[in-house]
Structures are given as C-alpha cells and as structure tokens.
Amino acid sequence: MKRRPNLPLIRSGVFILATFFVALPPALGAVARASANTLAPKSTQAHEIFSLAMFALAIVGGIFVVVESLLTYAVIKFRRRKTDPDQEPPQVYGSLRIELAWTVIPILIVIVLFLTTARIIFAVQDPPPPKNGDLQVTVVGHQFWWEFRYPTLGIVTANELHIPVSTRQDPDPTYLTLLSADVDHSFWVPELAGKTDLIPNHPNHMWISPHKPGVYYGQCAQFCGTGHANMLLTVYVDTPAQFAAWVKSQRRPAVDDPAVAAGRHIFEMDACANCHTINGTTAHGTYGPDLTHLMSRATIGAGVAANTAANLREWVKNPNSLKPGAHMPAMQLTNQQIDEVVAYLTTLH
C-alpha cells in the first residue's frame, strides 16, 4: 500500500532546516567578530569555566539528540494514517520498570554533573589568599561608571582597568574588591571572568589571572538605572613593562600648564570641583571620576564616546546629550568658558 506523504511534517522539516541554514552563517560570522565572547577564554578561571561548559554541553547535547530523536520518531511512526483500522490502539497504562529506568539514569547523570561543577565552584570562588605583592584593586560601582582604586599604588582612575598579564610560569593574579556607591551593579568582562555583583553594604571579591596581553571589553550586567546600557568597561591587560610604565605615569602629579590657567580657574571655582578630583588643585570631589590623568583614557562617559576634544566639549556642554541619565548636570557655561575648560582638560595627560 502506498504511503501518503505527510505534508505538515515535511513542511516542518524543510522549515527547520531552512531556518538553521539561514541563521548559521550570520551566527558564525558574529562569533568570529565578537569582542566580548564568553566562548573565548583568556584567563585561568575563564578557561576553567570554558572546559566545564564544554563538558556540560556534551551531556545536555547528548540528551537533546536522544530525546528529540525519540520524539521525531514517535511523531512520524505513530501518526494516524488513512489506512488505520477505525478502532483505538492498544491501551498501555504504564510500566514500573521503564519508569524506574528513566528515573535512575537521570539521577546518575545529575550526580556526575554536580560533582564536576562543585569542583570548579570551589576552585574559582576560593583561590589561595593574595600574597604580599599581589596587585589589589578596589572597584566601586557608580551610576553609571566604574571607579578603580589601587590602594597600594596610590592610583585612582575610572572606567579603564589596567592589570598585569599573568603567565603560567610567572603567575601574577589581580585581586578585586567590589563595592557599590549607590545601587547594584555587576562586573563582567566575558573573556576574563564570570560576573560578580557590586552590592552596597556587601563587599564582594574576585580575582583575574589573564594570560594574554590585550584590550578586553565588558559592561555592567545588572540593571542599575537609565544609564545602565552605557556603563561600559574596558580592561587593559599589560605586559609587565607596559604596566610599570602606566603606573609611573599615573603616579605623576597632574600637568600644570600656565597656558590653560583660565580653564583651571573655572574648574576650581565652579561646581566641577565639588564632584571631581584633580591632584594638585583644589578640586577634591569624589562623586564623579578622578580627572587627574583624564587624557590617559581612551574614552569618556564610561565608554560612551572617544576621548577627543570635540567629544569633551559636547560632554561639558551637556552630558545628557551623549549619555542620557548621566548624573553630571549641564553647567550652563558660556561657549568661551567651555572652550577654556576643555583646553585645560586636554592637557591632563
């Protein structure tokens, strides 16, 4: 007897395959270009997480193939055909033995997966305590920017974290203490480490041991208000020489160029000084980022724009035009005052 083709089934099969092939190239292209890829580990703990992830993926992938194949088989094999006799199929009410099997086997899988997971939890969460000389950084989350304090080095900077590379031969992990000045935030640089939240009144700790010098991107991963999407984060993993040079440059006092004294005067006399610090001036505010070495940073507004004179001008004129929700108000300066302040800021290397 000829079988009739099952149209809905064929249609669905064709459709799923088509979707898959249409979606695959952009997906692969995206993976290749991605700059905050969770599947491209570049540090000790990111590698640990990645290996565990691949193990878990193999297990759930296996389960996926088995169960969905059984479902597909059942849908095709047991569909009602026109030739079927007009009576009900044999009624089966259950089988204790079969049900025991599909209870016990998953339990065994859970035990294996749990033990593997537990090992990595302890390995990543409870590292050996920092030794003398290990770099320690305090990260403070603000609406909507990052403050980085290096207590042992006397450096305070913002939004761009510099840490030294940590090779297998010469491990040099960086230990972070995570605090918040206002609401919950979350520190996430996918290629270097998983997230750790910054919660007010609840100090958290994490460590990073990056293997490869380079620039890594991340951003706040806990909704923290209007500017949350623009609370970006850059981590520079420096070679030991680069890092030493950076530390040296950050520890210099602020540049004091008499040519821009007018801008400095406005900065010190106007409300700027209430929120920002510039070492060597009367500006000691701590509500906003430390600007002592503003021009050593590639971006302003926590990554929202390149750190150019034009963007700085736009920012000083009206921060909310670049970054909606930014707490810095438009200071109502005249055009000339803005020019002078920006001229001053651009000297702060």
Binding site: V31, S95, T226, G227, P324
Partner: protein, 562 residues
C-alpha cells in the same frame, strides 16, 4: 456495577443573551459568580493584556534592531521592559492559567461550581483592578504629560534602585500596589481551587482518579499560597521604606539589598512552576486524547508533580550565583536545581511514552502540544546549563538567560495556552475554531518563535547583557539582533491570525457538539456550552477516564487501574 452509566443531559436550551439588551448583558457578566463566566472573564482579560505586553515587546525589538537606535528614549525603554515582564507574568500568565482552571476544574471533578463562588468573583475583580492600577500608571502619578510614571525598575525591582533616592515619583509605588492587589486576587483563587479539589469531587472520583490537570492545579494552588506571600511581604516592606521611613532595603542606613533579592526569588522561582505546571496539566490532557491512549504512568506523573512542588521551593538562589554567596551554598542550590530536572524529565518521558504506539491525530491542539514537548526539552536543557554555576557566572543576566526563560514562558507555556484554547473553545462556545487558520497560526508562530529565540542564545553567549536600550556596534551583535527582531514580527503575525480565528470562529465556527475530540474527561459529558448547573445529574465515576468506560463498556478502564 458493570452497567454503570453516566447520565448525559440532552442538548438543553442555552440561555442566549442579546434579546435583553446591552445593559442586562453587561450586568450579567459583572455580577456573575458562575465559575464558567468568571473563567471566560479571566481568559479574555489575559488575552487583552497578552496583546498589550506583545506590543511592548515589539517596541523593545524595534529599538534593538540596530545599535544606537533612537526609536524610544532610555526612560521609555526601561518602562517598556519592566511593564512587559510584569504584564506577562502577573496579568497574562497567572490569570489565564487560573482562568482555564476556573472553567475546567469544577467540570472535570463533576462539581456544579467552585467551592466559594463569591470569593471567586472577588478574586477575579481584585486581579482585574490590579492590572488596571498598573496600567493607570501611564497616565496617573505625575499627570498626563510625558506618560512618565510607569514602573521602570525591571520586573525584579532590585533594591536599592527602588528606594525614593533613586526612583522618586510614583512609578515604583504603582508597581508594588498593583501587584499587592492582584496578588490578593490570586491567593483567593488558589484557596478556592484547593477547597474545590479537596471537597467538591463527585462520587467515585478519588484523588487518584482525578485528571492530571486537576492534580497539577492542586499543586499550583498550593505553591501560589506559599510564594505570593513573601512577594506581598517584600512589597509592603518596600512601601514602608518609601513612605514611613523604614530601612529594610535602605543600604545608606544599614539596610540590606541582598534581602530583597532573596525575597524576590523565594517568590520568583516557584512562580516559574506556578506558570509551567498548568501547562504540564494541559499537555497531560491533550496528548492522551490526540494519541488515543491513556496517559502513561499516571501515578508517576502525580509523584513527579509532588516532587517538583517541594524541590521548587529550594532552588531560588540559582538566580543569585553572582551576588557573592559562599561556595557551599552555591553548591547546594546547584544540586537542588539539577535534581528538579529529574521529575521534569520523567514527565517528558511519560508524554513520549503516551504517544508511543498511539494513533496521533494532528489537530491544532496537538500540534501546539508536540511543539511544546520539543521546545520544553530544550528549555529544560538550557536550564541545566544555567544550573552549572560557573557557566552561569558567564551567562547570568545575558541574553542567554532571556532566551532560556522565553523558551519556558513562550515555547512551553504560551504554546500550551494556545493548545488549551483550541482544545476547550468548542466546550466554552459550542463552536469549533477554524482548523485551517489554526494550522496557519501554528506554523507562522512556530517559525517566528524559533527565529526570535534561537539566535537569542547565541547573542547571549557573545556577551550581550539584558536590560540595555542600546549597544556598541563593534561587538558582533548587530545581525543577530536584526534576525531576532524579524522573528518577533513573524510571531506577531501569528498572534494576529489567532485573534482573527477567534473572532471568526465565535461567529461562524461550525457546531461542536458535546464531545468533538472524542475525549474522556467529565467536561465532555455535558452540552457545549455547559448549562449553568453543569451536570443535570451528579456524575458517578469508576476510573480516570469516565467517558472511555461509557464508550467501551466491554473494555472499561477500571478493570486495569489498580
């Protein structure tokens, strides 16, 4: 007792409204205490908000089509995703599933109404006014200008962002008050369902002869009583903080932000099961009927339900792997979360075994149910992935999580909501829904669903966090976001086909008769739509499938059930 029968009343004259005039018709719906009318009100109310929440989702997807898009402002975007989440969970998911239960449970257990009909009406109207209060926030509070006071703190509303210092105005107050009001309605319905299931069953319907949908609604109602309470308590504390100078969550004065997160997820995770267990119940009714076989492993299904009930109360902190818990507590919640996959897996295998050896009829309800099983397997497995805490440190709050829970909430729950509407529509209205439009609805929605939520996993793996109104153009997220947004439009077309089908079938659907699907539970033993008293004579049952026994007097179920 071999001559046991079930008296089915002949087609009764259904009181048709329309001759009496609009005001009488309106009055009859507003003052009704009939569980069937209240069930219809629940479902209509939820479908309305499904469209509203859907429009919010479409705005979100238009905004995210391109990096640096300016379709909506950041403030409006925050309102959109907060309202979308709150709407879909509290004004769509729970009321529609309780609506089905309201309509179907008394019929399934052979009762003439719920245990407390007036409490039932009160519960519905509380829930309805909760929804209205939430949406009044668009025009209330600050006044009409700017539409500025819809809640914008996320549906999870993490403290201390909700403190007066960070969200002045009334946005957060609307959120808390609306959910407190709706929550009281939900609690009333849960109490009512427990009482109905415990005390209103007809003769012969022992607990282990109840349809699985009834079992699952019993578990859901119990869970609701346990989980809505901490949410309401937390919201009362939040309001005390905001208006009476309390410091529960005020971190500036020594309060704890972490306590809110615990309270929210002690509610929030069992809430997921409150939503998904009724969907399991729907599948456990539809799959047997369209496979023409009894459900495989009834007692194991009940056991798995009870196991899920208890374990689901001990998994909440898997939403909190990044807040700085100790390694031991993380390990505990990893284990609990992985263990809950076992009873859930048992259910999937039992549905498979029910289909195995059957004669599958692919009418629209069954199509949605098969797609549900297919998608729920994936949702469960990505759930296991997220339970692997170290991987969750990477995936938490990324689009991978969004993809995972939309696979549960849409791929499993919404698919089964559609299945349930196609399945019970003939009983409720006396008319069939169009199969042709139903198939169109299914395939278009299925395509849109996968186009939206499959790439969402990838964009999450590529590091895209949730709750962002814009994103940098250099992260490799652009193409995928465009595909996701196109998929959302395809889903919207599918929903419009469904709405059209609903309207058309209400007016022109073909007559259904009492039992159009050749089904086995008691609701099909009464006319469609059922008379106000449900059953002319109280039914008496001897097995889990009373109508099977009547249709097969030579081979009744009660011979085989232990």
């Amino acid at each position: 007792m071999a001559d046991q029968t079930l008296p089915i009343p002949g087609p009764t004259e259904i009181p048709r409204i329309g001759t009496a005039g609009f005001s009488e018709w309106l009055h009859s719906w507003i003052v009704t205490v009939d569980h069937k009318k209240l069930g219809i009100l629940y479902v209509a109310y939820s479908l309305f908000f499904l469209l509203v929440g859907g429009v919010e989702a479409m705005c979100i997807r238009i905004q995210l089509m391109f990096p640096h898009n300016h379709f909506v402002s950041p403030q409006v975007y925050d309102e959109l995703f907060t309202m979308h989440g709150t709407t879909m969970v509290f004004l769509v998911g729970m009321p529609i599933l309780f609506g089905f239960a309201n309509y179907v449970v008394p019929l399934m257990v052979g009762a003439r109404d719920m245990a407390f009909p007036r409490l039932n009406a009160l519960s519905f109207w509380l829930t309805a006014f909760g929804g209205i209060l939430l949406y009044f926030s668009f025009v209330g509070g600050f006044g009409l200008y700017g539409m500025g006071s819809a809640p914008d703190v996320g549906w999870f509303a993490y403290a201390p962002l909700t403190a007066k210092a960070f969200t002045p105005g009334h946005n957060t107050d609307y959120w808390a008050l609306a959910l407190i009001v709706a929550g009281f309605g939900t609690l009333g319905t849960a109490i009512n369902l427990v009482a109905t299931i415990i005390s209103m069953r007809c003769r012969g319907m022992t607990l282990f002869r109840m349809p699985l949908f009834v079992w699952l609604m019993l578990a859901v109602s119990g869970l609701t009583l346990v989980t809505i309470t901490p949410l309401t308590a937390a919201q009362v504390m939040l309001l005390i903080d905001r208006y009476l100078g309390g410091h529960f969550f005020d971190t500036q004065a020594g309060g704890s932000a972490l306590i809110w997160i615990h309270f929210f997820w002690i509610f929030g995770h069992p809430e997921v099961y409150v939503l998904v267990l009724p969907a399991f119940g729907i599948a456990s009714e539809i799959i047997p009927v369209f496979s023409r076989k009894a459900i495989f492993g009834y007692s194991t299904m009940v056991g798995a339900t009870i196991a899920i009930f208890f374990i689901s109360l001990a998994v909440w902190a898997h939403h909190m792997f990044t807040v700085g818990l100790t390694s031991v507590s993380i390990a505990f919640f990893v284990l609990a979360t992985m263990v809950i996959a076992v009873p859930t897996g048992i259910k999937i295998f039992n549905w498979l075994a029910t289909m195995w050896g059957g004669r599958l009829r692919f009418d629209t309800p069954m199509l949605f149910c098969v797609a549900f099983v297919f998608q729920f397997v994936i949702a469960g497995l990505t759930g296991v992935i997220l339970a692997v805490a170290p991987w969750d440190w990477e995936l938490h709050n990324s689009y991978f999580v969004i993809a995972h829970f939309h696979y549960v909430l849409v791929g499993a729950i919404v698919f089964n909501i559609f299945a349930a509407i196609y399945y019970w529509f003939p009983k409720v209205t006396g008319r069939m829904m169009s199969e042709k439009l139903g198939k169109w609805h299914f395939w278009v929605f299925f395509a849109g669903f996968h186009l939206t939520f499959d790439p969402m996993h990838v964009v999450g793996l590529l590091g895209m966090p949730r709750s962002i109104y814009t994103y940098p153009a250099n992260r490799g997220w652009n193409t995928l976001n465009m595909v996701i947004s196109i998929g959302a439009f395809v889903q919207a077309i599918g929903v419009l086909i469904f709405v059209w089908n609903l309207i058309q079938s209400l007016r022109h659907g073909k007559e259904a008769g009492n039992d159009p699907w050749d089904a086995w539970t008691l609701e099909w033993a009464t006319p469609s739509p059922p008379p106000p008293y449900n059953f002319a004579v109280d039914p008496v049952v001897r097995s889990r499938r009373p109508l099977w026994d009547i249709k097969h007097p030579d081979d009744p179920d009660w011979k085989y059930e232990e």
